[in-house]
Symmetry: C2
Subunit: 399 residues, 2 copies
Amino acid sequence: MPASPLQPINLDNAAASPLWPEARQAMLEALSLGNPSSTHAAGRSAKQALERARGQIADLIAAKPAAVHFTSCATESNAWAIRGLLGANKRLSGANKPSTPHVIISAIEHPSVLSAARRLELDGAISTTTLSVDAEGFVSSGDLEKALTGQTVLVSVMAANGEIGTVQRIRELAGVARSHQALFHTDAVAAAGYWPIDVKAWGVDALTLSLNACHGPMGAAALYVREGLRILPLLEGGGQERGGRSGTEPLAAAVGLGVAAEQAQKRLSQGIAPLAALRDRLVRALRQGIEKLRINGSTQERLPQNAHVCIEGVSSESLVLGLDQAGVLAGLGSACNAKAMRPSHVLKAIGLSDEEAAGALVLSLNWMTTESDVDQAAAIIAKVVEPLRRVSALTARIR
Amino acid sequence: MPASPLQPINLDNAAASPLWPEARQAMLEALSLGNPSSTHAAGRSAKQALERARGQIADLIAAKPAAVHFTSCATESNAWAIRGLLGANKRLSGANKPSTPHVIISAIEHPSVLSAARRLELDGAISTTTLSVDAEGFVSSGDLEKALTGQTVLVSVMAANGEIGTVQRIRELAGVARSHQALFHTDAVAAAGYWPIDVKAWGVDALTLSLNACHGPMGAAALYVREGLRILPLLEGGGQERGGRSGTEPLAAAVGLGVAAEQAQKRLSQGIAPLAALRDRLVRALRQGIEKLRINGSTQERLPQNAHVCIEGVSSESLVLGLDQAGVLAGLGSACNAKAMRPSHVLKAIGLSDEEAAGALVLSLNWMTTESDVDQAAAIIAKVVEPLRRVSALTARIR
């Protein structure tokens, strides 16, 4: 699509992305349905729509529908997973008394995971170990092995990082946790819809999913909880979601999430190579057009829709604003930290200095991105960088 | 509207009600917007839409927009209010040490309030006093006065009960709490949109609101928190809602909630008498058409859209199912308990025996209900009751 103020080239999909037309249509219809908890016919139609969506989401992650629970957002799913799994699963110390639970997370988790763990630690309810990552953003299974103790109840490592695109070796990490009788939760928000997920093959006990970044609606997310595993609710009351998550369901958004999952599954069944090739084309063009460009994250195990670059001599903020005016939407960094004018905790964790992280740009494609989009975007980015660098150099000299 | 299987007469609005066309249209448009936390133009439009909705909700309750926070559902608002206010507001005992906080609730609160308090009590974090209600469902300010102690941090009494329709004297109750330095939260879900709310005049510190029952969408709700009052977040992470409630906002639902608030405000400004008159017309017709009919709740301070009757000699379940088939949607009881085949805790609390509560029926009108609707509905209800009573009497005799 052409770059115009009305229809910019969208390379900022990490926090929100255009709805699938099919999801939009299904949501429209769902707005006329009743409350899924009502007993009469209107309620039953709503319930059927909700269960259809649950099945579509289950299919995307190779789970049974009964293991999928609706929530309002990934932040809620993550908070529920961490507090709920800890609340329902105690480990006994030598004296057969519950010990202070130990939780292991990684340094590049989403703020909602970091905050949930920090809050519990502040309250004295748990002790926490934060695993560092290597320069490409990988958590090492050796490090996890060393961090596990007899008190470790839960390990939470994200499936993929939406900022630098690195996809963790979840199967390996979950296996290490299991061999130490610890539960394993993964925040799969960045991976969902762009990377094949199989909760059984991965061996995870719980998985957070939303599709804001993959043509799904805001307002609904899900938490997979392995069948038979106990979890305390975060929200209690009316007993919806089989008592797991009370509260009126966000029906229209849940229906949209289901259709988005189905659409993503269709794309994934055809492979992620074409999308990765588009992203590689973008990166190649940026390398050719811009000097002193750094590519972050893994070169191998990487989300196909994601590129993360640092452009020396410009600031992320002026770059994103300049690109916005020139018709390219790009991201500053962690979607939820988008307004924080400091290097993200992810870039710090992979070892970038403040200076190196200054010109960071998250470029996230989507399933609708075209060759023409990436070619035009690369040209526009190069064009926007040049004068910004001149201004920046001038400012540096004056100072 | 005519009673047909395709377009039944809707007297079951307590859990979900038809969307205002204006809200539907606004939600449609919002589905094309970006993430309110994004920095570029698409994000700014989304942010503007969210802030417009916040203003509309604030207007409905006579609050400042900054005091209104979006959540996903009233259950979340209630859980957040109770845990968050307790977490941030300690009272000191004589020895200047924090004492175990004391919380006062009423016996007819929504399950989400009851559960939130019970969970904290089970965890040993609080002690709780549950105030009984009189036969009309009123909490007595004298009882509240007696229950308040030097350790009472929070009182939570609902503004109105969605099942029996009784509207509490919140201003009086909040005043009693304030005079004992306790905070006052009210769950105003049943009142919202059908009863004038003024958080300043009422003197409440926090107020839960959703509009599922008043032509608003599922998937968004709000919590008012008096400005300057400290509250810990329930969901932490990206720092949305000024740090109060992290998580991607349910944008479309929030926009729909705002428009529904605006529409409700328009109706309320013309007074609730016409709606109450329709409800009274329904009750009169039912009294005339059905023998041994009991009206529950207050005759004076009562939600204008609500009627609650108990019909002797039939069960709620068979009645609701029979009415559904005959083209009238009616409610079993507490919206969120709709599937529980036992008398609601509310009917128990106003002193009904299991037998008296057996034929309970919640009839909830909405702003679109017409005279013809209530006339037809009353006739249909009488017609459905008759054979059910005969079957029921026969069964009793056989037993």
